[in-house]
């Protein structure tokens, strides 16, 4: 399941959707989730607010594509990816990734793969408001190297 939305999300509801479905009542004994939140500092500057822009259509396509890759690579159920756009405040939830599997290693790896690939492949852009005004967040080299570790050996 993929959702790009301005509204906040509720992790308890998502957890139910991830695990309690009729097709798979108890088979998936391992559930790994990741939540990313807005931090209040970036590069020594206090962040007062954030705006998230995206490329409608391509966003969903790119998330579907990385889910296809994850499912081809690990024995997991249908993951959930929720990503918010629009205006956000420090402490607000930005992104949710949930993965269920019969194997905890697969659930951990697939969940980390999904957020690592989302970070470099999904067309979202963050703009932060600090004392010096709005500024676009720079892409980080560490995000590229985090994704590179999933390159098939």
């Amino acid at each position: 399941m993929i959702k790009v939305q301005t509204d906040d999300f509720d992790i308890a509801t998502l957890y139910q959707q991830l695990t309690n479905n009729e097709l798979n009542p108890h088979g998936y004994g391992a559930i790994v989730t990741f939540v990313g939140k807005v931090r209040d500092f970036n590069q020594q500057q206090q962040v007062a607010a954030m705006a998230l822009e995206h490329y409608p259509g391509m966003t969903e396509k790119s998330l579907e594509e990385i889910i296809v890759q994850a499912k081809a690579r690990w024995p997991i159920g249908e993951p959930i990816i929720i990503h918010r756009v629009g205006e956000l405040l420090p402490g607000d939830q930005i992104v949710y990734i949930g993965v269920a599997s019969a194997h905890r290693k697969a659930a951990f790896e697939a969940c980390e793969f999904l957020i690592d690939y989302l970070k470099i492949k999904a067309p979202f852009w963050k703009k932060e408001q600090t004392d010096s005004g709005y500024q676009w967040v720079d892409a980080r080299e560490t995000d590229q190297s985090a994704a590179n570790k999933w390159a098939k050996q």
Binding site: G36, L52, E53, H54, Y55, G57, M58, K61, S62, H83, I94, V95, I115, L118, K119, I120, K121, A122, P123, F124, W125, K126, K127, W136, V137, D138, A139, R140, D143
Partner: protein
């Protein structure tokens, strides 16, 4: 016709979100198209500097040597920063 869209800094610098462009065979690939747009003025040249620019064709990340076809939606934007 080509549909060209811009996001984030790229959009802000040229102060324009999209434009339509008559397709001509002169647009051999995305690099030719980029150069054509960059020649529209100083701000366009700045916005379309290649070192921190990504390009997508029909909502798929693409390389600069990808062929351009009539009807394509081409997007220019900076490296992504979601998550």
């Amino acid at each position: 016709m080509l549909t060209i869209v811009f996001f984030a800094q790229t959009r802000e610098i040229i102060n324009q979100g999209s434009l339509s462009l008559e397709f001509t065979p002169a647009f051999k690939d995305l690099e030719t198209l980029r150069q054509h747009l960059a020649s529209k003025g100083d701000k366009w040249d700045l916005a379309l500097q290649k070192d921190k620019l990504l390009v997508a064709v029909n909502q798929q990340m693409s390389d600069w040597n990808t062929e351009v076809k009539d009807g394509d939606e081409v997007a220019f934007f900076p490296p992504v920063t979601g998550g």
